[in-house]
């Protein structure tokens, strides 16, 4: 279990992440949702160990994050960054194989192949990473971080994804979140920063609504993804239709010129 208690991350005295507490349970997919500048990525980086929180504690499987060596932390948590660029001509497969770094090399080859087939990157394994499209690069990066947590182990693992679907077409967005939700069976807790509210509503077990560094709402999709919460956080008219007959929630943002009109009705 990953537990964060009252974490605070300040830049030049300004709280980017302000007293956030959360809990990630293995077998759950948690989505972080919020407007630009709400501190979503910063929160993810603090949880990952990139930034050090000035206050509060972060506890991975009962042990504080400061007490992990980078190598041991990498064995239980993987992070997919928002953007990754490579300066040197690496091949796709070489990039994915980097995920084996923390595992030691034994048996890695089969693992790499399995993950690459799952993420539909096996077909271009011998191409140069730099020659891929934005969406393909993201899938390769996803494959790399999946390799890191794919193999079973005796302790729960954590996968942190920062906008994993931002450059993908609609089918691949679903495929990536499908893979992420499949991971729940592997004793893995998944945390994803998501922009698309419908994706978050369709795949998440728990949603954290972030505004100005603070948690505004936190809980199950049906509670958090309500029209009044979303409108408050995004300061924009948003319509939510509850899911029925196994259909997920349907969330629609309304055009700006409807704004006054909608608010009048509301």
């Amino acid at each position: 279990m990953l537990e964060a208690r009252n974490i605070q991350y300040l830049v030049q005295g300004r709280a980017i992440v302000n007293k956030v507490s959360l809990q990630l349970n293995p077998g759950e997919l948690t989505a972080i949702v919020g407007p630009n500048g709400a501190g979503k990525s910063s929160l993810l980086k603090v949880l990952a160990g990139d930034y050090k929180a000035q206050a509060g504690e972060i506890i991975y499987n009962g042990k504080a994050i400061e007490n992990y060596r980078p190598k041991d932390l990498a064995k239980i948590r993987a992070v997919m960054p928002q953007h990754s660029q490579l300066t040197f001509p690496f091949k796709v497969k070489e990039v994915v194989e980097l995920g084996l770094l923390s595992l030691g090399m034994a048996g890695g080859e089969q693992l790499v192949k399995e993950v690459m087939i799952e993420t539909q990157t096996w077909a271009f394994r011998d191409r140069l990473y730099g020659a891929l499209s934005g969406g393909e690069k993201q899938r390769v990066q996803l494959a790399r971080v999946l390799v890191q947590v794919w193999a079973g182990s005796d302790q729960p693992k954590f996968l942190l994804l920062d906008e994993p679907t931002s450059s993908m077409d609609i089918a691949h967005q679903h495929q990536v979140l499908h893979i992420a939700s499949q991971l729940k069976r592997k004793d893995i807790a998944v945390l994803a920063v998501l922009h698309d509210l419908n994706m978050a509503a369709a795949y998440a077990d728990q949603v954290i609504l972030l505004k100005e560094g603070k948690v505004y709402q936190q809980g199950a999709v049906a509670e958090v993804m309500a029209s009044q919460h979303l409108e408050h956080v995004f300061e924009h008219p948003i319509l939510v239709r509850n899911g029925y007959d196994g259909m997920p929630h349907f969330i629609q943002s309304l055009p700006v010129h409807h704004q006054s009109h909608t608010f009048k009705i509301a």
Binding site: P70, A74, P89
Partner: protein
Amino acid sequence: MISKLAISNKVSHQRLVLGAMAFLLLVLAVLSLSMGAFPIPLSKVMQVIFGEWLGFDGVSLQEKNVLLQIRLPRLLLAMLVGGALGIAGAALQGLFRNPLVEPGLIGVSSGSALFAVIFIVFGSSLTFLSALGKFGLVGFAFIGGLMNTFLVYRLSSQAGKTDISLLILAGVALNALAGALIGLSIFYADDAALRNFTFWSLGDVGGANWEKVMLMLGFSFLPVGLIIGQHRALNALAIGESEAFHMGVDVQRTKLLILVGSALVVGTAVALTGTIGFVGLVVPHLLRILFGADHRLVIPGSFLAGAILLTLADLLARTMVAPAEMPIGIITAILGAPFFIWLLMNVKKIRT
């Protein structure tokens, strides 16, 4: 099964490339021992090297002395210095994630050059410098290189973390300062000192002897080993610093190891042979273009390729204008630059 085969294929392919380079280096080394202002036939070269088993029949004392006291140490020094420059260039390019980096950027070459010019110009008038004796210039230049690198490192580090972009800027700034101070020293130099420094700065392995070879070997053995051991961390760093940390790399430790290791080997090399440009910049590129970016190959490969390049350059330096000698730094650039241009023009054809 097929993929298992593929990865072992890749590793064995890398071993094959490294093996071929080592073989090429060996052939070049034997040729280099035989050729020169005083040619010695190959058979006699073999006889001297394997003297214990083949016997010294027919080898004159002069030939033996030329080989063992002049050519062999010179060859070994060229190989070690070339290797050091190549491997430091590869590691620093990987660390900085920038293909334009060369070992001089961390300030080691300019620091050495500054201290060298101070020694050459003021050495005779400052008693503490002349008291340093035979290895005064070497030792003083070595200290200068390490001091400057240390300054660059301190300027770019805060709270135990080193900012790579700050490090590049600090390197540029201190290089400029060292350049100005070198200019100032040259202003006060007499003609002899000026000529001395000019040739020092062009690079030269001519003054090689066994003591220098041992110094170079002693100072580079451990750092080279440590740098080779960082190949996985360097591969991870190619994606990014935070990504490397996510994959379990202790990034700060890798930075420190590579900076200190590179400063040591390059500092020793520059102190012993002067500034030899181009090797550290071009050799890693050559390997990446030909064999891909995997540091498992690029790092040790850069050592071998650097050694090959400098051995070849020294061979040409000794033979082209025999019995005179060309400074080796000129040769590396004259030889390397057009080849590199050709390579750049053909990158696409080679890599696809």
